[in-house]
């Protein structure tokens, strides 16, 4: 009986065991002191959905051009396959496989989305037969063939399933993974397709014999041998199979020639397609996601700096940038209880009404709110500090102010950027994000860069200035706030005045002091006049254009001063602005080595044990063995004598045991200590701090530099 029952495996019902934790639970658990976790989670989720959708749309828009030209290429090739004639030239010409070399840049993580939309487009409009392969799944020719066949014929089967059994089977044996199998399959599929799918073909707009598109996602990573053989094989069947290749290239198109020898690359008819550079892509993403008042969630300058520098210094990946933005979003809504107010107008008003006493207390403690209170009348101050309802009212008002601030901030920022972006040496930065970051951090008009930019602007010629002002007016046009409308009005007035200047100026004559100069021949006189001229130039009466130019620029300066104040000065900015750049950096740009070293030298941080707290540079003798061993090894040179190390270790550990220092067996090595020591040394070796060496017996080599 026992034996037979042992044969059956008892499967516990998985439903009972699993305690499903909804994602929103984490928000509640994280800060148990307030009840609005779920609402915050919902707001966060909604915002993220919106951001995600927007980035996807953006990506599609950016890729539209290159994908369209790629599709045109593929369609053209398909047509040439069908119209293949048996004339002299085509008989003489070598049969080449049409190939698109798609240069996408080094930001490999972003390519997935591009390829996804490419294959979607292909499936929708050109051919049902498209496969994408990655290098890591095709280490040998066999694997590559298998992937291609599986994906192609798998798709074919699932497409035809609605119709009668067309007798198509996947290759049963691995052995028969050859292109000739594919050829037969293609013939049957297209024949069946022609017979039964005539109507749907016309509907889908597929051509009569749709091409087979093979997309090599990461061309560089492929084994050259595998690729060469695959191309050679495919070329043998090009007359039967309309094959088209797409190479996804990350570096430069000349890698095709590096990877494929001439005998193979001569089998391809390569056309080049180049995508937008990733920096441009980032600029658009920032433009649409960050520099807009559409989203209530904002980043402070430091956080944005972290995200941008990860992009520029490390990966060039827009996808990772958006992921970083998502992390900031989650962190903000998770760690800041008041972020419940960081949402759309109506919702924010509603949420402000529902604030609990605890929340209101939190509002009172916000630095920006405290500053605001200080500026109020004494009576109002008392009200703000005592009445919760009043604080809620004021909160709504302040949130409204914050929204207005954003609505004014971004158009003015864009204006300032469009004015200064064409100046020589870009005093305020070439990209708008640089200007944005400096505006977020301090009063931009107090910086030297701003001053020099303004000076350069004051030297602009008329047509340049008017063109720039027109651009500004275009930027301000969609603005809906009163201030933006009046600013637009004034700007347009200035433009009109500049234009009128032309007509009035043409009548006037400019008298130059140079004319008098010619009469004087006396050296002393000449010197005198020159000095006079120099003096007069300073106080020289300005031309009407110069006066108007100064006036206009003063007006713009005024706009900057009133609208581009840093957000920190706005009350309640903490609700919308995520500021902990350190957290973000630690998560996105981890330093594993540093954290291991911290853990080893300051075990207190990780173990949270009061006994381990020590002064800087020392380690408590009660610390874990590996910490002691690590500390001791820091004091050694490049080669460490194991026995000396062991003795030092034994001494330290004996002190921890509280033994009498004068006792005989103090610091003596017993078996237990020996074993503990050996274990910690091998742990250090595993972590890569030491390694065994053959240079000296009983020694290990250190692998890190620097000592205590």
């Amino acid at each position: 009986m026992n034996e037979s029952s042992g044969c059956f495996v008892f499967k516990p019902s998985s439903k009972k065991r699993k305690r499903t934790v909804g994602i929103d639970e984490y928000f509640v658990d994280g800060n148990d002191d307030c009840g609005n976790g779920r609402e915050r989670f919902n707001i966060c989720q909604k915002l993220w959905e919106k951001i995600k959708m927007d980035t996807e749309i953006l990506q599609d828009e950016l890729n539209e051009k290159i994908l369209e030209s790629l599709l045109d290429f593929i369609k053209k090739c398909t047509l040439s396959f069908q119209s293949r004639t048996d004339d002299w030239a085509s008989r003489m010409r070598a049969s080449e496989i049409p190939t698109a070399a798609l240069v996408l840049g080094v930001n490999v993580p972003d390519h997935d989305m591009t390829f996804q939309s490419l294959s979607d487009l292909l499936k929708n409009s050109v051919t049902p037969f498209s496969v994408s392969v990655q290098a890591k799944e095709c280490t040998a020719l066999k694997n590559l063939m298998q992937r291609v066949l599986e994906r192609l014929m798998g798709v074919g089967v699932s497409v035809e399933e609605d119709e009668e059994d067309s007798g198509i089977h996947l290759p049963q044996k691995r052995v028969s993974c050859s292109i000739s199998v594919l050829c037969q399959w293609y013939k049957t599929v297209t024949k069946v397709g022609r017979r039964t799918l005539k109507l749907s073909h016309c509907k889908n707009g597929f051509l009569q014999s749709p091409p087979i598109v093979v997309i090599f996602k990461d061309f560089e990573a492929f084994n050259p041998r595998v690729l060469q053989d695959f191309i050679l094989i495919c070329n043998r069947y090009i007359h039967e199979l309309p094959l088209i290749f797409v190479f996804g290239i990350a570096t430069s198109p000349s890698t095709v020639q590096h990877i494929l020898p001439h005998s193979v690359s001569s089998l391809l008819c390569i056309e080049l397609f180049q995508s937008l550079s990733c920096t441009q892509h980032l600029a658009t993403v920032i433009d649409k996601l960050i520099l807009t008042s559409q989203f209530p969630f904002k980043l402070t300058g430091k956080v944005l700096q972290v995200l941008v520098s990860i992009f520029l210094y490390h990966d060039f990946s827009v996808r990772n940038f958006v992921k970083g933005l998502q992390l900031a979003l989650l962190e903000h809504f998770h760690s800041q209880p008041l972020s419940v107010l960081c949402c759309k107008k109506q919702e924010a008003r509603h949420n402000a009404q529902k604030l609990s006493h605890k929340d209101v207390e939190m509002v009172r403690q916000l630095p920006s709110f405290m500053r605001y209170v200080e500026t109020q009348e004494p009576q109002e101050q008392v009200q703000l500090l005592t009445s919760d309802d009043h604080v809620k009212e004021v909160c709504q008002m302040l949130l409204k102010g914050l929204r207005k601030y954003h609505k004014n901030y971004y158009p003015i920022l864009r204006c300032l950027h469009s004015l200064t972006a064409s100046l020589p040496k870009y005093p305020l930065g070439k990209q708008i994000r640089e200007l944005h970051i400096s505006c977020l951090e301090k009063n931009v008009w107090e910086t030297n860069e701003y001053e020099s930019a303004m000076q350069l602007l004051r030297l602009l010629a008329k047509d340049e200035l008017v063109a720039a002002l027109r651009k500004c007016a275009d930027i301000l046009k969609p603005g809906k706030t009163k201030k933006m409308k009046s600013a637009l009005q004034q700007l347009e007035d200035y433009i009109i005045r500049f234009e009128q200047l032309d007509e009035t100026l043409s009548g006037e004559e400019i008298t130059s002091p140079g004319k008098d100069l010619q009469k004087k021949t006396d050296l002393f006189q000449l010197q005198k006049t020159l000095l006079e001229m120099k003096g007069s130039r300073r106080t020289k009466k300005m031309s009407p254009f110069e006066i108007l130019r100064n006036e206009t620029l003063d007006f713009i300066d005024g706009l900057v001063r009133s609208h581009l104040t840093p957000p920190e000065l706005q009350p309640l900015n903490e609700v919308c602005y995520y500021s902990s750049s350190g957290v973000l950096r630690r998560h996105l740009n981890a330093t594993p080595r540093t954290s291991i070293q911290t853990a080893l030298s300051h075990p207190f941080y990780f173990l949270q044990n009061e006994n381990l707290k020590t002064d800087a540079g020392t380690v408590s003798s009660a610390a874990p063995d590996i910490c002691i061993v690590y500390k001791l090894h820091l004091e050694c040179g490049r080669l460490i004598n194991l026995y000396d190390w062991l003795e030092a270790y034994a001494t330290v550990v004996s002190a921890a045991e509280g033994k009498d220092p004068d006792a005989e067996d103090y610091g003596k090595v017993d078996e237990l200590k020996h074993a503990r020591f050996i274990q910690s040394v091998s742990e250090l070796e595993f972590l890569g701090f030491v390694k065994s060496t053959k240079q000296k017996t009983d020694h290990v080599a250190r692998l890190t530099w620097g000592g205590c």
């Binding site: 080094v106 052995v175 993974c177 292109i179 560089e220 198109p253 001569s266 080049l272 490390h314 540093t594």
Partner: protein, 434 residues
């Protein structure tokens, strides 16, 4: 007539005699294995396959590139010789003995009336398969006891095939390269006189014969450029006899073709379009025109560091990258053998810690040793800008080589270095040992 076509393709009388004597008595047993070699596009497979087809001899033609495993080779052979049923008799992952067994089995039912031929193209790939395959195939006749002959086609001479353990020596046949005269007589264009066409081919060979003897490629080029050659004739600007004018018209065009379409810098379709548009001034962007690669900031420095580590001897690192290095005597600075250009010797492997040490000293700011710096190294490897030496899975002190050219590095360091002195320093480091 087929025979005539084949003799046109054949180069020498000798090969012709050999082949006809081999193939013309199909009732008798043939020599067990024949090895045919010659350069690419010398008509090996074309001649053999046309002959077999025209003489209606039973044969199986298999390309070894397609056979990712020996099993596939057996399957295709049986399929072609005996039909689909016989191929189904093979077990999963068949060995050579399985093949021989199945062959004997089906052969007993259909004994050979004529010699059966098995033609294996690109036979050099057989060497990479199982060790017993090639010797086994060479004496297949003996093994299966049937009138069968194996014909191996390859671009490599037989000496490179012979296994260590020895094997049956096949009959060797060489297909020599086509001579200039032979190529001239091979083709013709139906709409023009043979004289005109051969004068065109003559001009074409004048440009291309020194770089390319591949008949297939030459034909391709001939077809691509023929319309341009005929242009003055169509327009009535020149007569057929005016060869000099025709030559003046086509020669620069062909030279341009050699630099572009022959190297596949420009695709043949684009080349054709360009001819039609007649806009010769607007040169098409070739593949290598866009050699510029945009890289993240630290990747650029990593690549520079890798280049320095690859081409500078490790002893000189101290001098270049440590601020207060001790004095090194000028004479002992470079050893004699190091004075030969390091760029002639190619990149040398360097360990990861040397790369990082140079990287930290080259880059301006303090860089935290973050995970992304390390992952950039591995992405440089996947982009084939660095190559890893040794196994991929070697975690302990991996070694790398820099795989980019000096020009590439100079371009990178120019755009990375804001201040001029730093650039000079870097280029000095690069140039000193060139």
């Amino acid at each position: 007539s087929p025979k005539k076509r084949v003799t046109v393709m054949l180069n020498t009388v000798h090969t012709q005699c050999c082949l006809s004597s081999l193939l013309h008595q199909p009732e008798q047993y043939c020599y067990p294995s024949i090895f045919i070699y010659g350069h690419r596009a010398t008509g090996k497979s074309h001649v053999i396959l046309t002959l077999l087809k025209e003489l209606e001899l039973p044969h199986a033609a298999v390309s070894c590139v397609e056979c990712v495993s020996a099993g596939l080779l057996f399957e295709q052979t049986l399929l072609a010789l005996f039909g689909a049923d016989s191929a189904a008799l093979l077990p999963r992952l068949p060995s050579l003995s399985d093949f021989v067994r199945v062959y004997r089995q089906v052969c007993a039912q259909q004994p050979a009336k004529q010699t059966r031929y098995i033609v294996l193209e690109r036979a050099e790939l057989l060497r990479d398969m199982e060790a017993n395959l090639l010797p086994g195939l060479l004496r297949l006749q003996e093994l299966v006891d049937d009138n069968v002959a194996v014909i191996l086609l390859s671009e490599i001479v037989w000496d490179k095939f012979r296994p260590n353990t020895g094997c049956f020596e096949p009959l060797l046949l060489h297909f020599p390269d086509y001579t200039k005269g032979k190529i001239l007589s091979l083709d013709s264009n139906p709409s023009y006189t043979p004289e005109l066409y051969s004068s065109y081919i003559n001009i074409l060979l004048g440009v291309f014969y020194s770089v390319c003897r591949d008949l297939r490629e030459l034909r391709h080029l001939a077809a691509l450029n023929f319309s341009k050659f005929c242009e003055p004739l169509e327009k009535g600007e020149a007569k057929e006899g005016n060869t000099h004018k025709l030559w003046r018209n086509i020669e620069p065009h062909l030279k341009r073709a050699m630099q572009t379409v022959y190297l596949r810098e420009v695709s043949s379709v684009q080349w054709g379009q360009q001819q039609m548009d007649e806009k010769e001034a607007t040169a098409l962007r070739g593949l290598s025109a866009l050699a510029h690669v945009e890289l993240p900031y630290y990747s650029k420095f990593l690549l520079i560091a890798a280049y320095l580590a690859s081409y500078n001897p490790a002893r000189t690192d101290r001098r270049f990258f440590v601020k207060h290095h001790g004095k090194m005597k000028k004479t002992s600075f470079l050893k004699k053998h190091e004075k030969t250009s390091n760029h002639l010797l190619g990149p040398k492997p360097f360990p990861l810690d040397r790369l990082l040490a140079i990287f930290y000293s080259v880059v301006d700011s303090r860089v935290a040793p973050t995970a992304s710096v390390f992952s950039q190294i591995s992405s440089l490897v996947t982009l084939q800008l660095l190559t890893q030496v040794g196994h991929d899975d070697q975690l302990d002190t991996p070694k790398y080589k820099c795989a980019v050219s000096l020009d590439f590095i100079l371009a990178i360091s120019r755009c990375v270095c804001v201040c001029e002195t730093k650039y000079l320093f870097l280029t000095f480091g690069l140039w000193l040992l060139t």
